[in-house]
Subunit: 315 residues, 2 copies
């Protein structure tokens, strides 16, 4: 029998995708970073939603301003993931007894600060009472047809890149990260990645989504993975622990994307002139039947045993 | 000192509206039934979100199919409230341990059924774990500029109408109601109401929003208010209790709207030919300084003492 636990979050999403449903007019429906559709006469629209719940995505002790920032930033990261331009947001908040007015003001100032910095306007929402603090922000943006970049489209031979540093985000960065919107806009305008997504559930798990949607395999160069300072610190000199953290912690909100070999040199030349954010080539795409191949310092190795656990699972 | 309790939900919304915020490009922002904005080259877009929380908007014992239906229908009702056409939805669900796979399947089938009946496609969402079941659906639709109908715009002398029957919704109808989309579309196309909203927090409280936004007063004819069978039954023959229920219970999700006296006869002639849903004239708009005037069988009466309590308050 199917259970929520046996299905897991992604099994659950796969199930939902299969159910009979009206419409199917959307260009991108359930299962990518954002939904994409068009309206009469208009541009393509991307539409995404994310929920943060206390004790899961933040602790009660976290600064409310930062919780507000994160609640907006995770949605912006989803829009960046497809190459879109975020425009309007609505925020629905469930407020338990322990939340007071100063907390709420501070929370909203963080969310509005993040929205403002990326040109997004908060236009509505809902406020209800409940037993745990929970925030759902939904975001509408636009994306030009030629710039829309999804998880499908990576081809054997493409270079695999990631922005920034990975791992140890829960030590603090998950509340203060900057969604990679300018970087995404640059990429879709000038480089046209073949596939792209944001790293939210851990590098290896998220890469799995690109492989599945693109029907391809990948070679990962472990010695090239940009391990964050937080992940290094938490692992106290244990290289495997640091790599495990970088590959599986989740909540990095960096861009993971693939670029045709022809475009890779241009990308690597232009990037440092525009962005202070690090860009790292961490592998390349291969044929689908190869799955994920791991190399360390150029030598092929077996699947590392610290990869036993999967990425973050909700159920 | 300001507290959440002293502010209440509407004070809270007023506060948020005042805060400095980027943008302000939206045609309708925080505080109406949906936000409305345009995107380059496109039609006007309406954007709304609603959260249902267990123990507040439904009980655990409620049929999950109905909870799913309601979670979609409340959003559709918001789009109906402004005269829009709903198009795409995303659903974010927080799942506690007591929710199993059959519950979820049934929940989604209810939400998808409701979406399908009104031409809406579910295109994405988020699933997270938490301690209480909570569903936030956000909806994007379109609305023609000439058809957009807001809470502002009612004028002294306009007739005040409500669809359906009011009160006692919590006895069951709040889980099975039909959003008044066809009715709303008819009204904005053929009658052009001067102001409109859906009754979600109780007739008197919601009418207050129209008065405030339109800067007008109203005369309410108590003997004309369409009291639902459920409200009658619950009040066991006590007329005041039944009226109190109809005026204040909330969750009716009927349309409340105002029509210029010139259009009223056309409306009353066309309505019964098109809809089985009842339409009732329950009063008329007056000058703002008059506030709300109550009449019973044509005679002006003092503010009824059963109106002491306000509509539903979240905090």
């Amino acid at each position: 029998m199917k259970t929520l636990k046996s299905l897991g979050e992604f099994g659950f999403i796969k199930e939902i995708r299969r159910w009979p449903r009206s419409g199917r007019k959307a260009l991108v429906g359930i299962g990518d970073d954002t939904a994409v559709f068009s309206l009469p006469r208009g541009p393509l629209i991307c539409f995404t939603t994310d929920t943060l719940v206390e004790g899961v995505h933040f602790e009660r002790s976290a600064l409310p301003r930062r919780v507000g920032w994160k609640s907006m930033a995770v949605n912006l990261s989803d829009v960046a993931a497809v190459g879109g331009i975020p425009k309007y947001a609505v925020a629905s908040i469930t407020i338990p007894k322990w939340v007071n007015w100063p907390y709420l003001k501070s929370f909203y100032s963080g969310a509005l600060d993040c929205a403002g910095r990326f040109g997004v306007e908060l236009v509505g929402g809902d406020t209800v009472k409940g037993r745990e603090l929970s925030i759902t922000i939904s975001l509408v943006g636009i994306v030009e047809k030629g710039e829309l970049t999804l998880r499908r489209g990576a081809k054997s031979g493409d270079s695999l890149y990631v922005t920034g540093y990975l791992g140890g985000s829960l030590a603090g960065r998950h509340l203060t990260f900057s969604p990679r919107l300018p970087e995404s806009r640059f990429l879709v305008k000038h480089i046209r990645p073949t596939a792209m997504m944001d790293v939210s559930d851990g590098l290896i798990q998220d890469l799995g989504h690109i492989l599945e949607e693109s029907r391809s395999g990948a070679e990962i160069w472990l010695d090239k993975i940009p391990v964050s300072r937080a992940a290094r610190k938490l692992s106290a000199g244990d290289r495997n622990a640091a790599l495990s953290s970088a590959c599986q912690d989740g909540e990095d909100f960096e861009l993971l994307f693939t670029v045709s070999p022809r475009k890779a040199p241009v990308l690597e030349k232009m990037w440092p002139r525009r962005f202070a954010v690090r860009l790292t080539k961490i592998g390349r795409m291969t044929a689908a039947f190869r799955g994920i191949i791991y190399t360390d310092k150029g030598i092929r190795i077996a699947r590392p045993n610290w990869l036993n656990k999967e990425g973050y699972r909700h159920f």
